[in-house]
Amino acid sequence: MRVLAAAALAAALACAAVPAAAQDSSAHVVVPHFTAEQAAAFSKQVERDLAAKGARVAMVFRAGRGRDQLPEGISYTHGAFWVYRTIRTADGQSLSGYAVYNLYAGDGKAWSRIESRLVQDYPLDFTRGSTVDDMGVIIPSPEMQRRIIAVIDSPTYAKVHNPAYSLVANPWSRKYQNCNNFMLNVIAAAVWETDDPARISADLKAHYKPTIVKANAVLRLFGPIADPRLRTDDQKGPIRTATYESLAAFMQENGLLQESYIFNYRP
């Protein structure tokens, strides 16, 4: 009986470990998939592709875990806004390109793994964390681009941030937030022209269909032991979270999208 119970638990945990990788916004993640030169080339390829399409802002997504470790229907683990900017450099020059606006969870050293911060870095930082040869891209409609940038450049950007982090934060609840939920909140602030987090949550519940992460009760029960970032007490019923897939669908269905696509690295 004991052996049977242990086997059942092990099987359940094997399933539970997969949703833990649904999102991963760890700060400054670097993986050995690309060399520094390849990551630099990839970042510049994405930048030029966005620039050719006239995108002042895009939502770009990377996979920080192997696809075989991701739940079904989820392709990417971290997303951020890439914003076209004038970049001042340490040698006193200015150049044109994209800056990246992230929500990062701590790595347990610089700050807590269950707390997030808003950090601006650059495309190279983003591509260095990719474990695959592709990125997901969402380019909002021109009007949405204007509104999103206005939010990013305002106090609203910080106001809609909730530093309490969960890998599978529920976008219908304000209790936790991850990188994609944060982007969704910025989009909502732009769409409804509000900086009220409570109103944003209510509007998202009415209009946004989250991705359902396949999991079971054991995940909810034991998840906090397996990974402190896997907090699910904001979930009622199935585990819901925001992903590239559901964000793109939301924007497509509501006329907020210019285009969404997968961008492949060109060696």
């Binding site: 470990a17 914003v83 450099t89 040698d91």
Partner: protein, 123 residues
């Protein structure tokens, strides 16, 4: 009664790979500081620049904000962006029109990366 103890032990063992993976990533040779990466890229012939700040393109004067009580649309929530864009959004200078120029240089973050998310005002 022994089952919970065994279960916790099993959980700890099974949870290890997920945590270890993050540690491996951070400890990898590729995980060097940005300044080291810049040096490495430069040695490889890649043109780099250390980014100090990112500012809004074409912004004159202060950056307008969407949001705040004055900008809240009252009544029932509706979805979709109205044809008439808000003045605040227009003031951001984000007119999506035509291809944009991207510099060849690869921008490397300073160490540590800035934590201010909207340092966008012209200086």
């Amino acid at each position: 009664m022994r089952l919970p103890v065994f279960s916790i032990l099993a959980l700890s063992l099974l949870a290890a790979p997920a945590v270890a993976q993050d540690s491996v990533q951070e400890a990898s040779a590729a995980g060097r500081a940005a300044s080291e990466v810049a040096t490495h890229l430069t040695a490889s012939g890649v043109k780099t620049a250390v980014g100090v700040s990112a500012i809004a393109v074409g912004v004159v004067g202060s950056v307008a904000a969407v949001g705040g009580s004055a900008a809240v649309v009252g009544g029932t929530a509706s979805l979709g962006v109205a044809d008439s864009a808000s003045d605040a959004a227009r003031a951001s200078g984000a007119a999506a029109s035509g291809p944009l120029k991207v510099d060849d240089r690869v921008v490397v973050s300073p160490d540590p990366a800035p934590q201010v998310p909207y340092d966008t005002k012209p200086r």
